[in-house]
């Protein structure tokens, strides 16, 4: 991607001849979709406009194939809700502009997403505030009125089928992507089918990847944006709760949820801020599904690498590191009691 390509696109969208693009750089992360940051300058009604923007472009290969317009439409639907999200501007399906489809959104400056920084000593005094806000935002996501917000395109499942649909979805991806037999993942999916949770009382908007790393936080303890909505869907609110409880997202050796708050304290704050009653058994179910889902996502990246569809070494590195997720899954299935 070059500044000239972006300038041409912005000239077309803004109907102006004077557009310049600077500081174009690819952001690490965003393994399912390429993320690029840049500064754009143009003239509007006689005054200069300077705007930090983000391009989310379809990748050559990714950890996961996701629908390109889903994320864009969810961002659009969440504008002006209590859920902090960047404003989106254009969804472009024509590959002529930047070789692949993409969308453009506002860059939210002043915050950062890196989990390791959140674990550092300089955040000791604000980690609780960030955790509290994180619980509050999760409750807000789950309280979004998805029907009036035009999120019906996410194909609502029945209350009874939320869990089965997610099991089938990830098992299907495993069938298509795994290069090895993956006995623990297979057994884990069967365990889930035999231990379905109670149906949720309401169908909610599920972020699908709500974890440390997918929100921007500030040194004074605020969360300025929730990002990466490509796995959003309608389902059981406990799915997000289980996902963020996973060991993979803990920071600095802490057992806290996402490295920010004690698990029970997080549950209490989530409920207090309007979230649903936390069903511990359902959380265990979704935490197990989360481990299997993450393993499947990483194996998908590994497949892309082995098939030669990408040279991104992150895919090779993460694909080789799913051993712990398998062991976590066995623990959550309760089959390692007495194991030494």
């Amino acid at each position: 991607m070059t500044p000239e390509q972006l300038e041409a696109y912005l000239r077309h969208k803004l109907s102006t001849d004077k557009v310049t693009v600077g500081n174009l750089r690819r952001i690490t992360g965003g393994a399912s979709r390429e993320t690029w940051s840049f500064d754009a300058r143009w003239w509007d009604k006689g005054s200069e406009v300077v705007q930090g923007l983000i391009v989310r472009r379809d990748p050559d290969a990714s950890l996961l194939e996701t629908e390109r317009d889903l994320e864009y439409r969810v961002y659009q639907a969440l504008a002006d809700t209590p859920v902090p999200v960047p404003r989106v501007y254009w969804l472009e399906l024509d590959s002529a502009w930047l070789e692949r489809p993409f969308f453009v959104m506002e860059r939210v400056d002043g915050g950062q997403a890196l989990p390791q920084t959140l674990g550092s000593a300089s955040y000791d005094t604000v980690r609780t505030a960030i955790g509290t806000r994180k619980a509050e935002i999760l409750a807000s996501i789950h309280r979004v009125d998805w029907q009036s917000r035009d999120l019906g395109f996410l194909e609502p499942p029945s209350l009874q089928s939320c869990a089965s649909i997610e099991i089938a979805r990830w098992e299907h991806i495993l069938d298509n992507q795994a290069l090895d037999p993956e006995p623990i993942l297979r057994a884990g999916f069967q365990w889930l089918k035999e231990h379905l949770p109670r149906s949720p009382e309401r169908l909610v908007l599920v972020h699908g990847d709500y974890r440390t790393g997918n929100y921007l936080y500030t040194p004074d303890g605020r969360i300025t944006a929730v990002l990466d909505w490509e796995l959003a869907h309608l389902g059981d609110p406990m799915e997000d709760v289980g996902w963020l409880c996973m060991r993979s997202w803990r920071v600095g050796g802490s057992d806290d949820v996402g490295g920010v708050l004690d698990r029970e304290e997080f549950f209490r704050l989530y409920e207090e801020h309007g979230g649903f009653e936390v069903d511990r058994e359902a959380v265990r179910f979704w935490e197990l599904l989360g481990n299997l889902k993450l393993a499947v996502i990483l194996l998908t990246g590994s497949r892309s690498f082995c098939d030669g569809r990408t040279t991104n070494l992150l895919m090779a590195s993460t694909g080789r590191s799913t051993g712990g997720l398998n062991v976590n899954a066995l623990e959550l299935m309760g089959v390692l009691e007495g194991y030494a």
Binding site: R250, N312, A316, R320, G323, L325, Y339
Partner: protein, 174 residues
């Protein structure tokens, strides 16, 4: 022959960390080099022992399947459980054929064969454990899971310890 393969890998790792990485300004390319360091690190750690560990893992799984096969057969016959009977036969067959090869590709192929039977067997055992738990099958199930837990714990993983430790610290691991 010196440097040995492991010494070469460690040298590549040092070069990436000390010579190449400091010259790179682009954060995305830095991330790629850090991934490279982690991969080389992981190769260096497993290079010497991988064949031996795979051989032992295969042996362990084959022994467990050999022990499980008659129990599964008895149970499957008593309940006229055709699928399980077929699985018992597969368990017997896959564990009977062993090779002396120390080639990683052949050991890995054998491992995949064993794990394929194991995957189907564990799915069947999960179904039975939930609906019709029978002590001898629960013991087989437990032994298989414990063996897998030991084997998977040895693999490189970011998800048992703190996944979000700074990349520089991960790369600095000896």
């Amino acid at each position: 022959m010196r440097p040995t393969s492991v010494e070469v890998l460690r040298g590549i790792r040092r070069s990436l960390l000390e010579t190449i990485l400091p010259q790179i300004g682009d954060p995305f390319i830095q991330g790629q080099v850090q991934a490279m360091v982690m991969l080389v690190d992981s190769l260096a750690m497993t290079w010497d022992s991988e064949a031996e560990e795979l051989r032992q893992d295969n042996q362990e799984l084959a022994e467990l399947l050999t022990r499980a096969a008659p129990v599964l057969t008895d149970f499957a016959r008593s309940r006229e459980h055709r699928d399980l009977l077929h699985l018992a036969s597969r368990a017997q067959t896959v564990s009977a054929h062993d090779s002396d090869s120390l080639r990683l590709s052949e050991l890995a192929a054998k491992h995949r064969e064993l794990e394929a039977v194991l995957a189907d067997l564990l799915v069947a055992l999960e179904e039975l454990a939930a609906r019709n738990p029978v002590e001898p099958l629960l013991v087989i199930r437990r032994d298989l899971y414990w063996a897998l837990a030991r084997q998977y714990s040895r693999r490189p993983s970011m998800h048992r310890r703190d996944v979000t430790r700074p990349a520089s610290q991960m790369a600095g691991r000896s």
